[in-house]
Symmetry: C2
Subunit: 741 residues, 2 copies
């Protein structure tokens, strides 16, 4: 009690909300307000405006297209250079093993991973707007590329002479297969880059918005599973063919399990040792983040040790451990990608383009927010498009921003794109000078690097619990994205997940919460009557609200819910009424015939009088006339008396207020439904009005010819409270009129 008093006291201290104004319906309100004269820009003007050309505009466009022109001349050498150099070296050290490893995922020889870690990175320096992201090979995208390469160039099509045990034959077979796969990967990079470029120039950067967070998490988690499954065979040194397409995860696991007895113990030991080393390195880097000037480059250490051990112990010859093999020195001359492959890989290219872009832009945004600068989504698309499409002429596969490298680049003090350039130059040195040194590197080491890098992605399984608590719909998106991407493959999985995410929005508009509102006493506030104890309904007035717009997909459930929630079924009411009238008519008829007999017996005297009364009865037309009722004969004298005893079945609701606060748009189906509701309820004597219709919805209703003589703007009130007051007045005067009669 005391608590309540305290609250009251505190309430009195606050200033009050006082309003005194007329009750507004739209007719009245629009009458008082004057629309501003707005001359809309004509199409010609718009085109002229967008085509206008000035040197200032041209300069701005150039700066937008080549951001390096803007930041490089102002580069504060003293402040930034040291940070960029340290960061560049740290990132370059990561580019190297990741390039080699992810080439494995992309099903191409390792050197192409190095190419992909060089050309695109250099290109991004010129076109990119983000200062901290590290462009280059990325597990998920590499996996997608690998999937396509394997699908287009499967192991089987070359196995015609599988009986041949001649070593040269086998080598030739592998090199022919790999050449084809490189062609596919390169064409894919070209096409996905082209798509990104087009989307960027068309300012379609917004496509990434459909990749909502739960979707991306579910998708990348599934990708992590795909990647780790595909690496098991390298880790264990088992030789199986690689699968792609739907259910490839299942096939891959089955294939590995069926050959588990052929595990290469040496490869497994090396691989597991690497995993342990890498995990320890990660842990140290995480624990002593503050104390270490730069993170320990564990990956390159593992690669160097692995290469050394492999070369020293002759792991390849002595233990048949698969090694990276031939790394040709120097760069390749540019070549035009194989255009003929495009029709077969178009869908995949779209998927890779979208995934690549969304990774880049989300990472770029994170850093931009952290370091207070802005990035341009469309320019990022263009930059990434150039990286991929131009890069593809130099035999790179699809790249995007890698999370692990970007974090290192940022945390080691990288300030601008210069850091990325330096990392690319490091890769270039390796390609040109010491690449061949890595030839004895066991593939199992690369598999270990890949798998340890998936750690953060696997941690996303924790999302399930998080989304379970916060939003079931987002959990559903996560699960659908994960399951679909896992079993249908990453491309179809992504498509399915996006379609599902879009459908959840439809679902939300289609399964709204239907409520009856009541007043919080002494205020103009209306809340769900089922939710709060204090909320009261006005007698005879029902306020109905559905928290959605009214359009084709939910008009039916709206009408159903309206009838159920308000408890007023005009159809049932009419039927009951008709039945009662029929019964009544029958009773009258029976009574009439009885009386006729009586009259006949009494030899009537006042025939004229009776006739006059019959005429009066017909003229008064008291009974609602309808198809079936017309058939029954109402021709008796004493109907009037009888009629007074007859009570029509009716509802005790006189007004129904449809609250349109949550309605953001209506379509023709919605407008028709609304009109039908108003007319149907009018038929049973219930006054239906609409409250809180927003401006755009009013405009839409007007365009849809919703308003006419029977349905006027006077039925639309500014707020629920306006409508309630109007309904009370209307009913009050109606009741008064009734009692006056």
């Amino acid at each position: 009690m005391e608590h309540a008093q305290e609250q009251e006291a505190s309430l009195e201290q606050t200033q009050m909300y006082c309003v005194q104004r007329p009750i507004y319906n739209q007719e009245l309100l629009q009458g008082q307000l004057h629309r501003r004269q707005r001359t809309p820009q004509t199409l010609g003007q718009k085109i002229a405006h967008s085509c206008r050309c000035s040197s200032k505009r041209a300069k701005a466009h150039l700066y937008n297209f080549l951001p390096i022109l803007k930041w490089l001349p102002r580069y504060p050498v003293k402040e930034y250079l040291l940070g960029d150099i340290i960061s560049g070296i740290s990132t370059g050290i990561m580019q190297l093993p990741q390039g080699l490893a992810y080439a494995l995922l992309a099903a191409v020889p390792p050197v192409f991973g190095l190419y992909s870690s060089f050309y695109p990175v250099i290109l991004y320096t010129f076109f990119g707007t983000s200062k901290h992201i590290s462009i280059g090979t990325f597990a998920v995208v590499s996996m997608m590329v690998g999937g396509v390469a394997v699908r287009e160039v499967p192991d089987e099509i070359f196995s015609l002479d599988s009986n041949s045990t001649n070593i040269t034959d086998v080598l030739e077979y592998y090199s022919a297969r790999d050449t084809k796969r490189v062609q596919v990967a390169v064409a894919l990079a070209f096409l996905s880059g082209l798509i990104q470029l087009c989307l960027g120039f068309l300012r379609f950067g917004f496509v990434a918005i459909y990749l909502t967070e739960p979707l991306v998490h579910g998708f990348t988690t599934a990708a992590a599973v795909h990647v780790s499954v595909s690496q098991f065979k390298y880790l264990l040194g088992i030789k199986t063919s690689r699968y792609s397409g739907p259910l490839s995860v299942v096939y891959s696991i089955a294939a590995v399990l069926s050959k588990i007895t052929t595990t290469n113990i040496a490869a497994m030991i090396v691989g597991l040792t690497c995993i342990v080393l890498l995990l320890i390195g990660k842990e140290i880097n995480f624990r002593f983040k503050e104390k270490l000037p730069v993170p320990i480059p564990m990956e390159i250490i593992v690669v160097i040790i692995g290469t050394g051990v492999s070369a020293g112990m002759k792991l390849n010859e002595a233990y048949k451990v698969d090694v990276v093999g031939n790394i040709p020195q120097g760069l390749r001359a540019p070549a035009i990608p194989d255009i003929q492959l495009i029709p077969a890989i178009f869908g995949d290219a779209v998927a890779i383009a979208v995934v690549g872009f969304s990774m880049t832009v989300s990472m770029a945004k994170t850093f931009a927010l952290k370091h207070d600068y802005t990035i341009d989504g469309n320019q990022e698309l263009i930059a990434l498009g150039i990286c991929n499409s131009v890069g593809s002429f130099f035999q790179t596969f699809s790249v995007t921003c890698s999370m692990s490298r970007s974090l290192v680049q940022e945390s080691t003090g990288g300030k601008t794109q210069i850091a990325g350039t330096l990392s690319a130059i490091m890769v270039l040195l390796v390609i040109l000078a010491i690449g061949y040194l890595f030839e004895p590197l066991p593939q199992t080491v690369l598999a270990a690097i890949i798998m340890v890098n998936l750690k953060t992605m696997f941690r996303q399984f924790g999302d399930i619990m998080y989304f379970w608590k916060t939003s079931r719909i987002e959990l559903a998106i996560w699960v659908v994205a994960f399951v679909a991407s896992l079993f249908l493959g990453l491309d179809y999985g992504l498509l399915t997940a996006v379609a599902f995410a879009i459908l959840t929005v439809i679902y939300r508009t289609q399964r709204p919460e239907y409520k009856i509102l009541g007043q919080v006493p002494n205020t103009d506030i209306y809340c769900d009557v089922e939710e709060y104890e204090e909320v009261k309904e006005y007698p005879g007035i029902k306020i109905f609200q559905a928290n959605t717009s009214l359009y084709f997909a939910n008009t039916e459930s709206y009408t159903t819910a309206l009838k159920k929630k308000t408890g007023v079924h005009p159809g049932a009411l009419l039927a009951a009424r008709r039945k009662a009238q029929k019964r009544h008519a029958r009773e009258i008829k029976a009574a009439n015939e009885q009386r006729k007999k009586a009259v006949l017996k009494l030899t009537s005297s006042s025939t004229n009088d009776v006739e006059a009364r019959v005429k009066h009865e017909i003229a008064s037309d008291d009974l609602p006339v309808n198809g079936k009722f017309e058939d029954s004969n109402v021709q008796d004298t004493d109907v009037h008396d009888e009629h007074e005893h007859f009570v029509e079945p009716k509802t005790n609701i006189h007004s129904l207020i449809l609250d349109f606060t949550p309605v953001n748009f209506v379509d023709s189906v919605g407008a028709k439904t609304l009109k039908a509701i108003i007319k149907e309820y009018k038929g049973v004597g219930v006054y239906v009005c609409v409250s809180s219709c927003s401006g755009p919805v009013m405009d839409e209703l007007t365009r849809l010819n919703f308003f006419d003589e029977s349905v006027t703007r006077e039925l639309v009130f500014h707020s629920i409270h306006d409508a309630v007051l109007a309904c009370q007045m209307k009913h009050g005067s109606a009741a008064k009129a009734d009692s006056n009669l």
Copy 2:
């Protein structure tokens, strides 16, 4: 002026809207209200409830499943029978020619059209809830069936011995082809029926809601074009093969045009005569609707005349006019549909099931509304499913409700399903007794009947103008449905159209109208400031509204629009501020050094004093501290004076109100964005609050951990006016506090 006064006077007459209450934010409001204790039903209870079994429930279920049990015992013979008989005969007379004609569309021999006009109609009598619709063959569905039949059994695969000119060979070829096509059509009917049954039992009748009116109109218009194109060759007596799949319309037209010289003049004359006769008949029936007791059955008249003329003039032999040919007498023994075809036709079956159902249910609803009875959408699905699936055992193809026949059945006085049964019995008589009489009927007559029946569908081209005026989005749906169905074929077209219709909903949520609201003076009403002249903004307060929910697909444009519309860019402001601070710091430094020199020259006396002031300066910490500003040295004595001249770039907006009236849901991305907006603006001294957040959205925000120490429920106000009053108070007291300092 006078007008305005009049209005004022009329306003005074109305009752006033008076409210006086505290200013409510959610914290305060929730404190005053008490949530009702609601014990949600557990899953177990729900299951128990739905599984509860009683004789009453069983009876209700039985009545629902077999509506005939309900209406037949109460059939008022005297009142209804005559109407039903007349209507039954009229409808039966139409079933006959339409059955023959639509069999042509479905690419099966004519007698199967008759079967399809018999079995399903009888079955519907038992299971259907609509009293007026006429089940049977329908042009659009028949066309879809024909498309599948032709695709699965193309003309070409049988043309291996096309060189053979032997008549028996040709006949055998045709009969083999037709037998196969019948198998496909029957399997399709079986599968689509099964799908309808399943949807019905699962209460999935709502799937039809996605077929919004513009979509159905566009789709059926395209179907009409398909149908008429497919009939041209029959009308002209040209022999070409039939096409199916994407672009089949184009191929068909090209094929007909390329053989236009082979037009059979006799067939063309007969066909055009029939078209003229039918059009005249339609016109008479329309003009003298009121005077005619039953419409003139022009179709059967044309069929009879056509048959007579053909038989008398031996059109087939003498003029090589194609005739209907062999109509076997009697019914066929039931057979199990060919299950093996199912995988190939599954998608088509779904499309046919959905189209068939939506036709039936929309027609049934129209009549139910007109005659004041209710139909059960799910039971209609079940009924139609039984018609198709059970019917298919007797060699019928897919059926649905036909508009033209249903209108005749209703307008000639049909009262119940009895009329349909009678029409089926008429068809049965023809099949059993006089079917063979129709064998000389020229196919061109049937083509004429089909094409004239498309008249109403072609009239739907007028929709384009209508939707152009009322709603561009619905026009887009119409056009997409039409174009896609025309060129991709009816199945893919329907799919595309549905996907597009769903995307328009997303589009509406994604491209909302962004507005700045202002107050209508002396009220609590807030409107778009750009729209009305009277609307005024409060100085220092911006009210921003987007008429959409806030979720992953529109958060970005929301943030962009917010910054653009309010003109407050926190990022730019911060950057400007930082720049100004830097410049200021540099100036101070310069001044400092100058002074130092001066001080050195003067051999300072009051060093202690200076030091004290420096300390004071550092302690007062007046300047916002940030990464870059910390670097610059603020160590001078006279900073304080200098500092007073320094004006930080800031905005004249002190409060920003985000109106959440139109927000029906938020997701995690939306909540995060909102939080980011609040924090970002706080950083530049703008107080952001939210108004008119609905109950469900508050619950969602709470679940998404939106509220914490920095973002409390006190930021959420019950209405815009509450928020405005609170902002004014807050700013007033802040300003007072400032001036007190």
